[in-house]
Subunit: 390 residues, 2 copies
């Protein structure tokens, strides 16, 4: 039985500098979490563990997103009266320390959800398909990070800043279970930035090109990128277990399957999920999704065609006031969003905001955005959904 | 006086494996060049050094592109009766072995071009501005890799596969000097792929997002990316001399200046050079240019709107027959162009060829392309221009 402490799932980490330079933040999460918990306990009444809180289960707690669920629950002081940590048989029995208490990871079974109010799932689509519906039947509200139910009718697909109204009928306390889906990381990050502009000028068409981090393929992919880079720099052949090709000092079309229309699954998620979240079957989206050798934050280059004109200044003003957005758009200093700088941050950074000179009038804009894939692209968005249940 | 052998300008190279994994090719150029020269000499009459050939000067010979000029001249058996290697005072006196002969690098002066038929320039815009016109006045045909003269009226801007006709009036032998400009790397790579489609269906609008390698900022930038990556992996702060920020495991908006319209210079080159090369002031282009931690080949995601319909199959067929293009478009195997695989190659690789589902009918296409920045993006294109002078 290994004892895990709550920390980011960073492979082969040898020190804070390494983590900060590869993974982004000066303060790594392990330090932040432990520190915050101790400090808060001694000064203020914690909201976290409270008699009135819901019972919460985290499914897939030992994965990259599972670990981030715990970090986010702690940082946001999410109220809970009881916490259940679930994982596969392989991980069952491990011990995890969270907010000063030690928890034993339990094996996920169909009985795991009796008495659970909120179940945060991030253990892959097949696990969600197998256990999500029975969890909902036993009265749990499932917030699912997989793609299993996203396009199902009756399952709200939510970015809280964008369409929280679509889950307004689902509330805690009536013991009626439900499933709410967390969108794909690229969609969440795109729509946090695009929606404020869409509300003003209605997006007619979007052309998206992505620059996606290793983390989207899981903790093992992050470890492989680090390992490959070490190997390549020391003149060895790179190890290719997760990806079929060299990733270090290279980039490649997203590794998801290519459908018959030539788009890969990641690209089609951007197309279909945008339509569902905006409740607009007519919005036109094309996307090209690419993996770049970056650890945990995605970037996206987005070109808009709007129905109604919007000038550059108005766009910048709207974005600077938008929830979940930080504008980084310093033309003189050539300072714009980067994946490293948004890593471990909540907000989606937006920059390169400019009138598209290939369109007449003010009907077009180009922007460049970055967002943390594990955080806003997954765990944070799911916890924000759970917060809307109160 | 240091003796240089003709080889790629690769920083801190410790072995063939390292070079192949970071820079692309299994056979590094040094091995190829020396080998080829020796083999050819013993078997066939070399065209390279020949009494009837033009006199050739290489300006900026010690730089990354300058070194590649020599590699390409050798590989293409470019005929010359005399070779002059020019560089700054700092590099003058160095010895370079090329095709079995040793040359001393001479200091560039205004007198350097007397008797020179072809001068290949790659020493930056200010050197081109200072020495290019006097070279042309003394009867040399200057092929200039900088941005100094690209938009000048009367200076042809040439991608040989695209618009060789625009330089048809400039020929060797009449001792009339001229300047011909080599386009920017991103433009060359883009137009090699886009022009065959443009010829069939006329491009109305292009949305380009780039994934640009370190090499575009020179050999020192490549060295810095390698150094930073080593530092970051060993927990040290990354050295930032060439770029103002961490490049290892990160990406950022292209480092060129941002103009008043919000586009950076690199993006405006794509916009303006495309119009000049296609001789079409109405073609609409927007671009977002981004540096990614890759060594020497660029990638570009391109979305097209055409005037005339073109289906996916026709596009693939046209591209597979196009000069300078190789189609890598294996949907089932998820095998598409990557920068590493095109490194040290002549052709631009094109893949992800698909109908744009955000446009009606067959008026739109998405493609993803990769091309070697130092080679087709600079040295090879310039030598191909010189070949058209015969």
């Amino acid at each position: 039985m290994a004892a895990l402490s709550v920390q980011m799932c960073t492979p082969s980490v040898r020190g804070v500098s390494l983590k900060s330079s590869i993974y982004g933040s000066k303060l790594n999460n392990a330090v932040k979490i432990q520190g915050a918990a101790v400090t808060r306990k001694s000064r203020i009444v914690r909201m976290g563990l409270t008699e009135n809180g819901p019972t919460v289960a985290v499914v897939g707690v030992t994965g990259a997103v599972g670990q981030e669920f715990l970090a986010v629950l702690n940082q946001r002081n999410f109220p809970y009266s009881n916490l259940k940590l679930l994982a596969s048989k392989r991980s069952a029995g491990k011990h995890i320390t969270f907010e000063g208490r030690e928890y034993e990871v339990e094996e996920l079974t169909k009985d795991s959800f009796r008495g659970i109010d909120i179940a945060l799932f991030s253990a892959g689509g097949s696990i969600s398909k197998e256990y999500g519906p029975s969890a909902a039947e036993s009265g749990s509200i499932v917030v699912d990070n997989s793609s299993a139910f996203r396009m199902d009718e009756g399952v709200p697909l939510i970015v809280p800043e964008v369409n929280a109204d679509a889950m307004a009928h689902i509330k805690l306390g009536n013991k009626k279970g439900a499933i709410i889906a967390n969108p794909n990381c690229s969609t969440i990050i795109c729509l946090v930035a695009a929606t404020p502009l869409h509300r003003h000028s209605k997006v007619k068409r979007m052309v998206v090109s992505t620059y996606q981090a290793a983390s989207g393929a899981g903790a093992a992919a992050m470890a492989e990128l680090e390992q490959q880079t070490r190997e390549v720099l020391s003149g060895q052949e790179p190890t290719c277990n997760i990806f079929s090709r060299q990733y270090a000092f290279n980039l490649f079309s997203h590794n998801s399957c290519v459908s018959e229309n030539g788009y890969n699954e990641e690209e089609m998620k951007l197309v279909k999920e945008t339509r569902k979240i905006w409740n607009d079957p007519n919005v036109l989206v094309t996307a090209t999704c690419v993996r770049v050798p970056v650890m945990r934050a995605h970037a996206e280059s987005i070109n808009f065609q709007f129905e109604k004109e919007i000038d550059e200044e108005t766009a910048r003003e709207i974005l600077s006031k938008a929830e979940g957005v930080v504008v980084v758009d310093d033309r003189a200093g050539n300072n714009f969003p980067t994946p490293l700088e948004v890593s471990n941050k909540d907000d989606v950074a937006v920059g390169r905001i400019r009138r598209d000179i290939s369109q007449s009038g003010n009907f077009g804009l180009d922007i460049f955005i970055c967002g943390d894939q594990i955080r806003k692209g997954a765990a944070l968005n799911a916890v924000q959904i759970a917060e809307k249940l109160f």
